[in-house]
C-alpha cells in the first residue's frame, strides 16, 4: 500500500506487516531475512518524512501492551511497556496515579519505539535532556533474530546507537521508562511577548530555570518585527483540579484533505497576526490542562491534511549557542523574504547534547518551520541548509524528508561511529529506510 510519514511527503509503495504478538514479529523477521528483504519498523507513523518508509514496513501498532508499573519506595516509578504503546495511552494511565513522563514532544500520539528511535526532546530539554535519558532499559530484536536487553550498563554502545538511531539497529520490542511525580494534571503557564528575535533569545536566557519553555515565532514578520514571538513558560501546578477541570479535551478532526491553496502567505499572515495579538491580550499567567499545554495540535486530528494533497515538510534545525542569533536571523530573513512561512513556527532553547551518536539536540536553539510542499520549496530549503551548515547546525532526522547526504554528514560528525555499531549487529543491512538510503546510512 501507499505509505507516507506525517508530512505526507514523500510516499512510497510498501508492504505493511502488522504483527499482533512479539512471536509474530520474530517469525516475520526470520522470513524477511531468508528472502534478504530489507525492512524498517514503524510506530505511530508520526515521523514527518521518510524515516519509516521502506519496501517492507513492520508496524508496532498492535504491540501496545503495558508490562509492569512499579512504584519504588522513594516515590518514583518505572513503567515497562511494549514499543507500540503511545505516550497518550501512557499518560492516561499514569497521570491519575500521580506520575508523568519526564520528556514529552509536541504530540502525544507517538509510540515509545518511535520516541526512542528519534530520541525525542521536549519543552524541558534544557534541564532534563532527551527521552533516552529516562529510558532505563530496552529490549531489542536484532537482525539475526536474537533478542537483546540493553541499557547504560549492558551493551551501552548499542543502547546509545539505538536511541536516536531511527530504527536502523533493530526492532525495539519493549522499554522500561522512568516516571516523575506530579501533584495533578495542570500546568502553570506564563506568557511573555517578545517583539524581536533578540528579545526572545534574551527571555530564554533569563528564564533558563523554568521547567518548560517554548516560543511561538511569527516567521512571516520582517524588518524590525523579524522574529516577534510569544514565550510560554510552564511548570507543574500543585493545584489539584476538581473533576470538571480534569476532563480531557474533545478533539475535532479534519475529515478530508483540504485544497493546498487555502494555506498561503496571506491566510497565514492573517492567522499569525491575530494569534500574536490574541496572546498579547491574554492574561500573563494561567492554569492549563497538560494536554492543552503540551499537545495543542492534538486537538485537531489529522491536521496534516490542511496542507493539501502534496503534503508539507517540517524543517527543524538546531544551531549551537555561539552562532544561534546570527544563524537564526539569516534563516528567518530568507524565509520571510520567500514569503513561505507557516503558522506555528516554534523556537526552543536546548541543553547539552547527550552521548548518542545520532541524537539531534545540542546546546543552542532549535527552530521548527512547516512549509507546504511545492516545487519552489526545495531550492529554498537547500539555501537554508547551507546557512545551517555554515553555522555548525543540523537537522532533525525525525522531521527530515529531503536533506542531502553531505548536509547530514556535516551536521552529524559521529555518523561513522554509528555505522560501526550498526555493522556489528546488522552486517547485511536488514534494517534500512528511505531516509537511511538517502543519507548514506545503509552502505
Amino acid at each position: 500500500m501507499q505509505l507516507s510519514g506525517w508530512g505526507r511527503y514523500p510516499s512510497s509503495e510498501s508492504r505493511l506487516i502488522e504483527p499482533a504478538t512479539q512471536g509474530v514479529v520474530s517469525e516475520q523477521l526470520a522470513a524477511l531475512r531468508a528472502q534478504s528483504s530489507c525492512l524498517i519498523s514503524r510506530g505511530a507513523g508520526r515521523s514527518y518524512g521518510d524515516a519509516a518508509l521502506a519496501p517492507v514496513v513492520l508496524t508496532s501498532k498492535h504491540l501496545d501492551n503495558f508490562i509492569a508499573l512499579e512504584s519504588n519506595q522513594d516515590g518514583s516509578a518505572t513503567l515497562r511497556c511494549a514499543a507500540g504503546a503511545t505516550l497518550d495511552e501512557i499518560l492516561r494511565l499514569i497521570v491519575p496515579r500521580g506520575f508523568f513522563l519526564p520528556v514529552l514532544p509536541g504530540t502525544a500520539h507517538v509510540s515509545v519505539g518511535g520516541a526512542i528511535a528519534a530520541d525525542i526532546h521536549g519543552k524541558n530539554h534544557h534541564l532534563d535532556g532527551c527521552f533516552s535519558e529516562h529510558v532505563e532499559s530496552l529490549t531489542l530484536l536484532l537482525a539475526d533474530g536474537s533478542i537483546r536487553e540493553c541499557n547504560r550498563d549492558k551493551d551501552r554502545p548499542l543502547f546509545e546507537a539505538t536511541c536516536g538511531g531511527m530504527g536502523l539497529t533493530g526492532i525495539v520490542l519493549d522499554a522500561t521508562l522512568r516516571l516523575t511525580r506530579i501533584a495533578g494534571p495542570l500546568i502553570d503557564n506564563r506568557t511573555y511577548i517578545a517583539n524581536s528575535l533578540q528579545e526572545c533569545l534574551e527571555l530564554f536566557a533569563e528564564h533558563a530555570a523554568a521547567p518548560y519553555s517554548v516560543a511561538w515565532i511569527d516567521c512571516l514578520s520582517s524588518g524590525q518585527h523579524l522574529g516577534r514571538s510569544v514565550l510560554f513558560l510552564g511548570e507543574h501546578s500543585q493545584v489539584v483540579p476538581d473533576k470538571k477541570r480534569d476532563r480531557s479535551r474533545r478533539t475535532i478532526s479534519v475529515p478530508f484533505t483540504t485544497p493546498g491553496w487555502l494555506l498561503n502567505k496571506h491566510t497565514m499572515n492573517v492567522f499569525n497576526t491575530l494569534y500574536f495579538k490574541r496572546q498579547k491580550m491574554r492574561s500573563e499567567a494561567n492554569l492549563m490542562h497538560y494536554q492543552q499545554y503540551f499537545f495543542p495540535l492534538d486537538a485537531i486530528a489529522n491536521w496534516n491534511r490542511l496542507y493539501g494533497k502534496n503534503g508539507f515538510i517540517q524543517y527543524q534545525l538546531v544551531l549551537p549557542e555561539m552562532s544561534a542569533a546570527q544563524g537564526l536571523t539569516q534563516i528567518l530573513k530568507k524565509v520571510s523574504e520567500a514569503g513561505k512561512g507557516s503558522f506555528l513556527a516554534v523556537l526552543k532553547q536546548l541543553g547539552a547534547a547527550n552521548n548518542n551518536p545520532l541524537s539531534f539536540p545540542l546546546a543552542g536553539y532549535t527552530l521548527t518551520l512547516d512549509f507546504k510542499m511545492e516545487k519552489s520549496l526545495l531550492p529554498l530549503l537547500n539555501e537554508l541548509d547551507a546557512i545551517l551548515t555554515d553555522h555548525g547546525g543540523r537537522l532533525y532526522l525525525a522531521k527530515d524528508a529531503r536533506m542531502s547526504e553531505a548536509t547530514f554528514k556535516a551536521g552529524y560528525p559521529r555518523w561513522e561511529e554509528f555505522m560501526e555499531i550498526k555493522a556489528a549487529v546488522d552486517p547485511d543491512n536488514l534494517f534500512t529506510s528511505k531516509l537511511a538510503e538517502r543519507l548514506g546510512l545503509s552502505a
Binding site: M1, L16, I17, E18, P19, A20, T21, Q22, G23, H62, N65, F66, I67, A68, L69, L79, L93, P255, F256
Partner: protein, 244 residues
C-alpha cells in the same frame, strides 16, 4: 464485576478488557494463544484489574467447551458479564473450492459461538443475573459476494441470539448483539483502510455503553445501522450484480 471474555486475544476483546480493567473489575480470560493471554493479563493488571484467571482454549475443540464452562464457573462465584469475541476472517476465494475450510470457519464464527453462548446462557439463567454480549458482524446482515461464508456464520450467531434473548428475559439475563463494521485490527491487516474504518477502542466504548444501558443490537460505530439498512433494502435483482 466478574467479566468472562472468550476470544480475549482479539483486538476488540483486548480493547474492551482494557477499559473495564481501568474500573478495577475481575476477569476470566479465554483464548487460544496462552503467551498472548499472559501478556494481556499483565497489561490489565497495570491498568488496575483485580483478579484474573486464564483459561487457554482452542475454540475449534468444541468437545472441550463444556469443560471450559465448568472451569469458568469454578473461577468465579457469580458471572456478571460474558463477552464472546472470537472470530476469524476467511479467504472467500479459498472457501469457494475448499469445503473443509468453510466448515472450520462456520465452526469458529457460527456454531462455536452458539455452543458457548448457549452453555454460558444456562449458567446466567441459573444465577438469574448477568449480561451476555456477543460480537458478531455487519457482514451477517446480508450475504455479499466477497465474504458470504463469514457473513453466513455471523448471521447464524445473530439469529440465535435473537431467540436466546427472549428465552432469557424472564430470568433477568440480558443478551446483546454487537455488530462492528470495518475494524482496523490484525484480522484485517491486508486491507487498505479508508474513512469508514474504526479502531477497536471505538468499538469497545460502544460495547461498554451497550452493557451499561442494556441495549439489544448495537452497530459499532453507529453509522453502520444506516449503511446496513440501505444494504438490506437493495432488491435482489440489483444486489446480485454488486461486487462489494
Amino acid at each position: 464485576m466478574n467479566i468472562v471474555i472468550i476470544g480475549a486475544n482479539s483486538a476488540i476483546a483486548k480493547a474492551s478488557a482494557r477499559l473495564y480493567a481501568g474500573q478495577g473489575h475481575d476477569f476470566v480470560l479465554s483464548g487460544r494463544n496462552a503467551a498472548a493471554l499472559s501478556e494481556l493479563e499483565a497489561d490489565l493488571k497495570v491498568r488496575g484489574a483485580g483478579r484474573i484467571a486464564l483459561l487457554p482454549l482452542d475454540i475449534l475443540n468444541t468437545h472441550e467447551h463444556s469443560v471450559l464452562v465448568d472451569n469458568i464457573e469454578q473461577a468465579c462465584e457469580q458471572i456478571d458479564l460474558v463477552l464472546i469475541c472470537h472470530g476469524s476472517l476467511p479467504d472467500q476465494e479459498r472457501c469457494e473450492s475448499d469445503f473443509e475450510l468453510v466448515q472450520q470457519e462456520l465452526i469458529i464464527n457460527g456454531t462455536s459461538v452458539v455452543s458457548l453462548a448457549g452453555r454460558l446462557a444456562n449458567v446466567l439463567k441459573k444465577q438469574q443475573h448477568g449480561t451476555l454480549a456477543v460480537v458478531t458482524s455487519v457482514a451477517g446482515d446480508r450475504g455479499r459476494q466477497p465474504n458470504y461464508v463469514y457473513g453466513a456464520a455471523k448471521s447464524l450467531a445473530s439469529t440465535y441470539l435473537q431467540g436466546l434473548r427472549g428465552r432469557l428475559l424472564p430470568y433477568n439475563v440480558h443478551v446483546i448483539d454487537i455488530k462492528p463494521g470495518l475494524v482496523d485490527s490484525p484480522m484485517t491487516a491486508q486491507f487498505d483502510k479508508g474513512p469508514l474504518w474504526a479502531s477497536p477502542e471505538q468499538v469497545a466504548r460502544k460495547i461498554l455503553r451497550a452493557v451499561s444501558k442494556k441495549q439489544h443490537t448495537v452497530y459499532a460505530p453507529g453509522y453502520w445501522r444506516l449503511i446496513m439498512f440501505v444494504v438490506r433494502s437493495i432488491p435482489d435483482f440489483f444486489f446480485k450484480r454488486l461486487k462489494f
